[in-house]
Each structure stands twice: as structure tokens, then as C-alpha cells.
């Protein structure tokens, strides 16, 4: 039986990493279709293009291959996908009035589920699960940020839940005494990184970089809310 090759290929060696672009025809076709459809419906072409370009980069560039070797690369990919591309895309969509809390819960559940050992392993064994993971993570994150954007003042509890849940996950990952994912047991060695160190790096990156990105989004939302709600102030002492 032929061994299955994961979507981003076999774990690359550091030397070949930069040559490992993923020009999968289905992926490219999908991206082009998404671009065509998106440009028709978006209200903000620039933002949409930005989000689209980032997503394309995350899957075509060597980051995709790197994520086969390093769990930390995979986490970096997911951080960029859910905390940069998703809010950007959400900001390019017409306002969607969704209840923030349920969407945030869905995102949380998906996030924990896909990073647990068994489902994670499954994504490396079939293209279908691989795309189920990325589409569901990206989709739920986009919907969540769209909901936050539509009613920022009502989204505070949901945003708090999301911040807490992501941080908790990062803490658990950072402090875990053993590596979780058997896939990465050997793949990290060429990078002079033990699997545990790789995992700790992933956790810390999520904790800190992920946290800061999330904060930037929150800050931006708050500012937009205040500016939109504000009538131009005509102020000076009487």
C-alpha cells in the first residue's frame, strides 16, 4: 500500500525548506475561485485582497511544508490564519449580525479539538481532514470577528472568553512535560530542536504573539466603536 503523503508533503530538511512551495492545482483553483467570488461581494476590496493574499501565502509558501516538520510552524500558520487573516476578512465583509457568544464557543471548541493529538494526527493522514480543519478554523474565526465587529459593545464577554481560552491552551501547551504529537517526534531533529522544545516554542508563541495580535484586534475594535458612536465634539471653555 502506498504511504499517504500529507497535503504539504513530507517533512522537509532545513536545506530544502525554501524550495518547498505547494503549487497544488486544486489549491490554486480554489484560491482563484475564492478571489473571484470575494471581490464581487466584498465592501472593502483592499482588505479583502490583503486577507486573501495572506491565506494564499500561508498555504503556498514553504510555511506549509515547514509545518510538516515543526509544530511551532503549524501554530504560527494557525495564528496568522485565525488572528490576522480572519479579522481582516471579517472587516471586508458586509456587517453580519451574529450572536457573539455562541460563535466564540464554536471557535473555542474547534480550536481545542483540532490541536488535540488524535484529530491532529488525522489531518496528516487525509487531505479531507486537513482541509476540514483549516476551513472550519478559518471560517469560525472569521464569523467570530465579524460578530465582534457588528456589535462590539455586546461582544466583550465573548472576546474575554476567546482571550482566556486561547491563553489557557497556550499555557497548557507551554508547560506540558511531554510532547503531544507523535508525528513530530522525529521531524524536528534536523532543526536542532527537540520535539518538546518545539512544542514549548509553539505554546509560548501562541501565548505571547497570539495574545498580542488578539489585543491589537480588540484595541482596533474599541477605537472603531468609539469613533463611530462619537458625534464630532465641539469643545472649548465657555
Amino acid at each position: 500500500m502506498d504511504p499517504y503523503t500529507p497535503f504539504c508533503g513530507t517533512p522537509p530538511l532545513p536545506t530544502e525548506l525554501l524550495t518547498r512551495w505547494t503549487f497544488d492545482p486544486v489549491l490554486i483553483a480554489g484560491l482563484i475561485a475564492a478571489f473571484a467570488i470575494g471581490m464581487r461581494y466584498t465592501i472593502e476590496r483592499k482588505r479583502f485582497t490583503g486577507a486573501w493574499a495572506l491565506v494564499a501565502f500561508l498555504f503556498i509558501s514553504p510555511l506549509c511544508a515547514a509545518s510538516m516538520a515543526l509544530f511551532s510552524a503549524r501554530v504560527a500558520q494557525h495564528i496568522l490564519l485565525t488572528l490576522v487573516a480572519a479579522p481582516l476578512l471579517a472587516a471586508a465583509l458586509p456587517k453580519l449580525r451574529l450572536p457573539p457568544m455562541p460563535v466564540a464557543v464554536v471557535f473555542a471548541v474547534l480550536f481545542w479539538f483540532w490541536h488535540a493529538p488524535a484529530p491532529y494526527q488525522a489531518t496528516l493522514e487525509s487531505d479531507l481532514t486537513y482541509w476540514a480543519m483549516h476551513l472550519s478554523l478559518f471560517g469560525s474565526a472569521t464569523l467570530m470577528f465579524a460578530a465582534f465587529r457588528a456589535t462590539p459593545e455586546q461582544s466583550i464577554p465573548a472576546a474575554a472568553l476567546t482571550g482566556a481560552q486561547l491563553t489557557l491552551f497556550a499555557v497548557v501547551l507551554t508547560l506540558a512535560p511531554t510532547p503531544w504529537h507523535s508525528w513530530h517526534m522525529l521531524t524536528t531533529i534536523p532543526y536542532e530542536l527537540g520535539p518538546l522544545a518545539d512544542q514549548q516554542l509553539a505554546g509560548a508563541m501562541m501565548w505571547v504573539a497570539g495574545g498580542l495580535l488578539f489585543l491589537a484586534v480588540i484595541g482596533k475594535l474599541a477605537l472603531t466603536f468609539l469613533q463611530e458612536a462619537d458625534v464630532p465634539p465641539a469643545k472649548s471653555r465657555p
Binding site: 456589535t151 491563553t167 501565548w207 488578539f214 472649548s236
Partner: protein, 849 residues
């Protein structure tokens, strides 16, 4: 968090056949008398925010003085090398109590005092929306503080440092009661903080003057709102940590015991999950007061309101992610250290934005150098320096070097004294005229400022140097001639100069009450509503509540200032039922949506707090029968408190617009009671999350023990999950019916069914946990702790649902008075969610791996 705080559900309007069920207040009294503070001892029954706020401020200040004297003792001991003034045990007690009192019994209560006093006055309300809760919180704080202090009398003052590190504070290493005094007293005092958080959230969101939208709020309200959310989320980890540690000490449950799969680092995580945000909780309200005073003395609105508010919100979130930087020396993965250190410096961004807004405001005009202004400038100077040393400490190599040295002591005091004490004194000089109706002396004030400023810098700048020369903190003596002597002496001299400055303030305070000139109307030419009346403002705050169009109403709305304050137009000039009432608003837009009835003086808060204090103190003394009595008293007090006729169901004219009538205590998700309940639920979720974190943490770092732990009974875990769903559904129905005004009999039936579901759920959880021995491993103990927590929630829900059923049965409720059920529904749904998560956790833990 199953409900957003408010939503746009259509609500049945107030009924046209408004029956006259609203309880009549005190018909023989005039409007003024209804709002008067009761005379004599009865003042203890007062619930007015002005009375309670001042109590918080005075008590907090007294604790400040006590802790300050302790600090002077520390400095006296360190005056010369090889000093024998205090022995090392006493020294440990003194600095531990100094830190503890300053952080828990001074800083937080002081800011609560300002919040409680100022919020209604600044947003155009006549009182806080839960005045009794404020009074109750105050008494809890007072009794908790007394318990902590009384440890000195028993020679059992805690000595393990203000963060009570485990295992040092477990019974193995700390015998006697000292740690228990700390844990029990502080936990009682913290009740005041969390109740204040609920109070602040609901008051700011629900009782603003007509037209005051979120963006027109005085900036201090934003700071307080964010702070309140931070307290609601930040204090629970410490409360859970304290309870777990106390349970380990009293019952021997092995939460932190390494040999049974516990982990001392769990305490550190829980403590700093609280401790890091705590610093911001202290700083933000102080910064908010600066942002209020500064524009007044410059004569221009605050520069960059929107940016400052976003910065504050971001800071609120950010402060919860960074606790691990207090644990650099505990062997966190090397990988994470440099990232943390980078992230810690990022705090400088939102802080910097605020400081920038302040400085930019300063440049807008020519500041008047009044005493409060001097303290603001002192704050800017000291706090910025403290921020710089903070950035230094965030660098890992430097941190490992300076860790636990006097450099840290210096940094911490630059931040805390610069960031809190200086703004606070500025605020006292600014608002004391509002409290007393008399002005304090400018001359003495300048003396106080310069003594404090110079003394402070002398004392604490030197400590940087002593720290760099290697002097560790928390040492009682040091040897002569290694370069520490002169620096220490200067520090001590500085501390006494600082104390002299504070003494000048106190002298002036007593002096001005007798001979200070009377305060005129708006003495500082301020812009915010609290200065509308000539101090002292009458007990009702506003004779009529004015509509607000500007963020600086006293500057921009001439109709407020061109006539005597009592004649200013507004809502509720007519008082209908001789009740205390104020206007309730939509949380976002500030549109008036209801008339909000407020309680009159009552003893129940005092009784409840007393009962609780007895419960805590008796537990400390291991007199468990007395604890039970205390609990009973508290329960009786609480029942009396909430057993009052409902006010909902009638409409009354407000005097706004063209005869606008509004419902009294509207049955709606935007009701202050519902928002307050959601705030409470937020705290409950945070408590639950802390427990969940404990379990996950132990499972993560000690997997072998988790493996060895006996499994909960799967079948009952499954049943619990199912029953949780049923409880959720019943609660949802309760809420629907409350809003749609369904029949009372059916409502009562649902209440009773809910009760049955709750009892079944409790039993099912008990059976699920039965196979697990809580003493076997830390993991098992956490399982029981989660079970106990859910049981407590279930007990409250049970009490509540039976209470609501009983009130319907006894005819105390009529159709349309659905608020109690609406609140119960929110609480029941939250309980069901937490019970459900616990059941799933038990299921996962119960599945053989």
C-alpha cells in the same frame, strides 16, 4: 456567559391598566426627608453611596496609616547595620503585613471608595443601583480587615511575604494560625471587591442621566468600568487559590502536595493570575482620576478621549496574559522566557498612549498649579521612572540578576506610590471640598506635596542603588561595611520625610473642617456633574436629573450653570410614591428606559455581613458549630433583604419631554438587576475557570498521578450531563415566561420542577464522585473541589427557585412582576452550563485511556 448583557428583544410594554401595586414608601415624608441620612446609631443602617463611599475612604486611609507605620518600622530596623530593634520573626511579620495591608486593605478599598462616592454624582444618578450591596461589601471589608489585623494580638501575624508562597505557607512549614488569618481575613475582605465590581458595572451601565451615551461618559467612568471587569475576572483566581490552600491546611486535601501529584507552582500561577492584573486594577482608577482632574486645571477637554479609552480596554485584556513574568525564576521553559520578556515591554504601549494623552492635554493650555495639579505632575514624573525600571526588569538576564533584590522593592514602590498614592492624594485634595464643603489650605498642601515628593525620591531612589549593590529584599539585618550602610540610612531619612508630608495632610484635614473657607459652587471650574451643586451636595444628589448632551456638561450646557442647581430642569422632579428613585438607562445609548427604585436605609446588609464574619472567624478558630450559626444569620439577613414587594408593573411620569412615562423597574434584559446578575455570573465563571485551570494544570504537569486517580462513575457523569441540559431548558423557559408575562401558576410549577432537577443533579454529581477518594491525589481533590463548587451553585439556585415559588404561592407577586424569574433564569442557565462542563470533564476523566 450565556446571555449578552442586553439585547434587542421586544418586550411587552408596560401595561395600560397599571395597577397600583407599587409599594408606597414613606408617605409622611417630604422628598428631602426621604433622602436624608438617618440620625444617631441608625446611620449604620444607611445605604447611601455617599455615606458608604466615605466609609471606604476613611477606613482605607486608616489602613494606609497602619501599613505606613509598619513601613517606618522596617526602615528603622534597616537604619543601621546589625540592628536589633526588631528580631527577624517580627521583621518578617512587619513587612508581610505592610505589603498585605497596602495591597488588599488600602489600595483596592480606597479606589472602591472613590468609585462608590463619585459614580452616581458623575453620571447623574441619585444613588448606586445596589446601595445595599455597597453597604454589605463595606462591612465585609471592615470585618475582614479586623481579622487580618487582629493576628497581631494573637502574635500570629503572617510572615511569609505578601504572596504567601506554597509550600512555605502549608501547615507543614507554617504551623499555628498565621496563614489562616491571612487567607480567611483577606478572602472576607475580597468579597467587598467583587461586590463592588458588580455594583460599578451595573451602575455605570444602567443609571446614567438621559442622553449620556457610552461615549459621553466622563473618562473616569471608562476607567472604573474596565477596572470593575478586571476585578470580576482577576480576583477569582486568588479566591480559589486561597480556598484551596485553606482546604489543604484545614482538611489536609493535597492540592499543592508534590508527593500526591499536587504542585506548589499551581499557587504561584493562581496568585499571579490575580497579582499581575492587581497592579493595573490599582493603577487604572488612579489614572482615571488624573484624566479627570488634568483637563480641569488646563481648561481644555482631555486630548484623545477615544485613544485613551481604547488603551484602557486593551490594557484590561493585556494584563491577564502576562502573569508568568513574575515567575521567571521558577524554571519556565527557556523558550518562553524571551518571548515573555518581549511581551512585558509591550505593556508600555497602552500605558504610553495614556501618558501621551495626559502630556498632550498639558500642552493644550497653561496649567494652573494647584495642589492637585502638583500631585499629578508628581505622578507623571515618578510613574514614568517606575515604568522605565519596569522595562529593565522585563529583560530576562537583568531580572534574574535583580530578582528579589532592593531594586525590585524600589521599582514596585515607584509604580505603586507614583501610580496610585500620588494621584490619590491629588484626588483627595480635589474632592475633599466635595465631601466636607470646605477648602483645604493651598499652602499646607504645597508643603505636603514637596515633603512627600522629595522624601519619596530620596527613600526609594537609593533603594535602586542598594539593590544593584546586591542587597536582597526581606532581610532583617545586614553586615556593616559592604557599601549598604549610607544608602540605607538615606532611605530611612527619606521615608520619614515622606511620612511628614502625609502628617501635614492629616493636620490640614482636621484643621480645614473647622476653619477652612466654605466651598463655593464648582470651586475648580470643573466640567463634570458632581460639581453641579454647591458642596455639600444634598442627599438626593440631583433634585431633577438633567439631560446630558456633552462630555463636559458644566462647560458646554449653560442651562445647567445659569440658575440655582436645584432649579435645573430634568427628570423625576415629581416623586411619585415617596420612594427613592432614579432614572435607568439603556446601557449603550443612555436613553432613559425605566424608573429605578432604590432601597431606603436597612439593617439587613449589616446583619448579613456580621453573619458572614462570624462564619469566617469561627472557621479560623475551628468552632464549626459557630460557623454554622454565622451562616444561618447570614442567610436570614439575606432572605430579609430580598423579601420585599416587587416594584415592577407600573408606569410613572418622568417629567422628561412631552410627558414621557416610563415603567418602574422594567422587566427586561436591560434592567440593572439583570445586568448585575450577568456581572455576578461573570465572576462565577471566573471562579469556575480557575478551578478548571487547576485541574488542567495538574493533569498536564503530573500526568502519572492523573492516571492513577480513581475514575468518577461514568454512568452518573452521563446522567449529570443530561440533567444539566434539562436544568438549562427549564431555566430558559423560566426566562421566556418572565418576559412574556405568562400565568403565575405555570410559573410556580416551573420553579418547582427546576427545584426537582437541581436536587437530582446534585445527587447525581455526588454519586459520580463517590468512587473518587479526595485524599488520594491532588487531581482527585480538584475533582471534588469542582463538585463542591457546582454543589454550591446548585444550592443557591435551589434556594432561589423555591424562594420565587414561595412568593408566588403567598401572593407576593402579581402578573407582570417577572424580574426575579428573569434573574433566576440567567443564574440557572449559568449553573447548568458549569454543571454541564463539569459533567463532561468527569466523563473525559472517567474514560479509561
Amino acid at each position: 456567559m450565556t446571555d449578552a448583557p442586553y439585547d434587542n428583544n421586544p418586550v411587552p410594554g408596560p401595561r395600560d391598566d397599571a395597577y397600583d401595586m407599587a409599594p408606597k414608601g414613606e408617605p409622611d415624608k417630604s422628598f428631602e426627608e426621604v433622602w436624608a441620612t438617618p440620625p444617631g446609631v441608625k446611620v449604620l443602617s444607611s445605604v447611601s453611596h455617599r455615606v458608604v463611599g466615605k466609609r471606604f475612604l476613611i477606613t482605607g486611609f486608616i489602613f494606609f496609616l497602619i501599613a505606613g507605620v509598619l513601613a517606618l518600622l522596617v526602615r528603622l530596623q534597616l537604619l543601621v547595620s546589625e540592628n536589633t530593634f526588631l528580631d527577624s520573626e517580627t521583621y518578617n511579620q512587619v513587612f508581610t503585613m505592610h505589603g498585605t495591608i497596602m495591597m488588599f486593605l488600602f489600595a483596592i478599598p480606597m479606589l472602591e471608595g472613590f468609585a462608590v462616592y463619585l459614580i452616581p454624582l458623575m453620571i447623574g444618578a441619585r444613588d448606586l443601583v445596589f446601595p445595599r450591596l455597597g453597604a454589605f461589601g463595606y462591612y465585609c471589608y471592615l470585618f475582614g480587615g479586623i481579622i487580618v489585623l487582629s493576628s497581631f494580638l494573637f502574635d500570629a501575624a503572617p510572615a511569609g511575604g505578601w504572596f504567601m508562597y506554597v509550600p512555605l505557607s502549608t501547615s507543614q512549614y507554617t504551623e499555628g494560625l498565621s496563614a489562616d488569618f491571612w487567607l480567611i481575613g483577606i478572602t472576607l475582605a475580597e468579597i467587598a471587591s467583587v461586590t463592588a465590581a458588580v455594583e460599578i458595572i451595573a451602575a455605570i451601565l444602567c443609571s446614567r442621566a438621559p442622553g449620556m451615551s457610552l461615549t459621553k461618559m466622563p473618562i473616569l467612568m471608562w476607567y472604573l468600568l474596565v477596572t470593575a471587569f478586571m476585578i470580576a475576572i482577576g480576583f477569582p483566581p486568588l479566591i480559589i487559590g486561597s480556598i484551596l490552600l485553606e482546604a489543604e491546611r484545614l482538611l489536609g486535601l493535597p492540592f499543592f502536595d508534590i508527593s500526591l501529584g499536587g504542585d506548589p507552582l499551581l499557587w504561584q500561577h493562581l496568585f499571579w493570575l490575580f497579582g499581575h492584573p492587581e497592579v493595573y486594577i490599582i493603577f487604572l482608577p488612579a489614572a482615571g482620576m488624573v484624566a479627570t482632574m488634568l483637563p480641569v486645571f488646563v481648561g481644555k477637554p482631555l486630548f484623545g478621549y477615544g485613544f485613551a479609552v481604547s488603551a484602557v480596554i486593551t490594557m484590561g485584556f493585556l494584563s491577564f496574559g502576562l502573569w508568568a513574568h513574575h515567575m521567571f525564576a521558577t524554571g519556565l521553559p527557556i523558550m518562553s522566557l524571551s518571548l515573555f520578556s518581549a511581551a512585558s515591554t509591550m505593556v508600555a504601549v497602552p500605558t504610553g498612549v495614556q501618558i501621551f494623552c495626559f502630556i498632550a492635554t498639558l500642552t493644550l493650555g497653561k496649567p494652573r498649579l494647584t495642589v492637585p495639579m502638583l500631585f499629578i505632575l508628581g505622578f507623571l514624573f515618578i510613574f514614568v521612572l517606575g515604568g522605565l525600571t519596569g522595562v529593565m526588569l522585563a529583560a530576562v538576564p537583568f531580572n534574574l540578576q535583580a530578582h528579589d533584590s532592593y531594586f525590585v522593592v524600589a521599582h514596585l514602590h515607584y509604580v505603586l506610590i507614583g501610580g496610585f498614592v500620588f494621584p490619590m492624594f491629588g484626588a483627595l485634595y480635589y474632592w475633599v471640598p466635595h465631601f466636607t464643603g470646605r477648602m483645604m489650605s493651598e499652602t499646607l498642601g504645597k508643603w505636603a506635596f514637596w515633603l512627600m515628593f522629595l522624601g519619596f525620591n530620596l527613600a526609594f531612589f537609593m533603594m535602586h542603588l542598594t539593590g544593584l549593590r546586591g542587597m536582597p529584599r526581606r532581610i532583617a539585618t545586614y553586615p556593616e561595611g559592604i557599601g549598604w550602610d549610607r544608602l540605607n540610612m538615606l532611605s530611612t531619612v527619606g521615608a520619614f520625610i515622606l511620612a511628614a508630608g502625609i502628617a501635614v495632610f492629616i493636620v490640614d484635614f482636621f484643621r480645614h473642617q473647622r476653619s477652612g473657607p466654605k466651598t463655593g459652587r464648582d470651586p475648580w471650574r470643573a466640567a463634570t456633574l458632581e460639581w453641579l451643586y454647591e458642596p455639600r451636595t444634598p442627599g438626593y444628589n440631583f433634585r431633577a436629573i438633567p439631560a446630558i448632551r456633552s462630555r463636559e456638561p458644566l462647560w458646554d450646557q449653560p442651562e445647567l450653570t445659569d440658575r440655582p442647581a436645584a432649579e435645573v430642569d430634568g427628570a423625576l422632579r415629581i416623586s411619585h410614591d415617596h420612594r427613592r428613585e432614579t432614572i435607568g438607562c439603556d446601557p449603550v445609548t443612555g436613553e432613559p428606559i425605566q424608573i429605578l427604585r432604590l432601597p431606603h436605609p436597612t439593617w439587613f446588609p449589616l446583619i448579613s455581613a456580621l453573619g458572614l464574619a462570624v462564619l469566617f472567624a469561627a472557621t479560623l478558630a475551628s468552632l464549626y458549630w459557630l460557623s454554622a450559626i454565622g451562616g444561618l444569620i447570614a442567610l436570614i439577613g439575606l432572605t430579609g433583604w430580598i423579601w420585599e414587594p416587587s416594584d415592577s408593573g407600573v408606569t410613572r411620569e418622568t417629567g422628561l419631554g412631552e410627558g414621557l412615562s416610563l415603567p418602574v423597574n422594567v422587566v427586561d434584559r436591560k434592567s440593572h438587576l439583570h445586568v448585575g446578575t450577568i456581572g455576578t455570573i461573570l465572576i462565577l465563571y471566573a471562579l469556575f475557570a480557575s478551578l478548571l485551570f487547576a485541574g488542567l494544570f495538574l493533569w498536564n504537569v503530573q500526568p502519572e498521578f492523573a492516571q492513577d486517580t480513581a475514575r468518577p462513575a461514568r454512568i452518573f457523569a452521563l446522567v449529570s450531563a443530561a440533567l444539566s441540559v434539562i436544568l438549562f431548558a427549564l431555566s430558559w423557559m423560566t426566562g421566556r415566561r418572565a418576559l412574556s408575562q405568562g400565568s403565575l401558576a405555570a410559573g410556580m410549577l416551573i420553579n418547582l420542577l427546576t427545584g426537582v432537577a437541581i436536587v437530582a443533579l446534585g445527587l447525581s454529581f455526588f454519586w459520580a464522585l463517590l468512587p473518587v477518594d479526595p485524599y488520594s491525589t491532588a487531581f482527585a481533590a480538584v475533582g471534588w473541589a469542582m463538585g463542591a463548587y457546582v454543589a454550591a451553585l446548585l444550592a443557591v439556585s435551589l434556594y432561589w427557585t423555591l424562594f420565587n415559588a414561595l412568593r408566588k404561592a403567598t401572593g407576593n407577586v402579581v402578573l407582570g412582576q417577572g424580574l426575579p424569574d428573569l434573574l433566576l433564569a440567567a443564574f440557572g442557565k449559568a449553573t447548568a452550563v458549569m454543571a454541564g462542563i463539569t459533567a463532561v470533564a468527569f466523563l473525559v476523566a472517567g474514560t479509561p485511556q
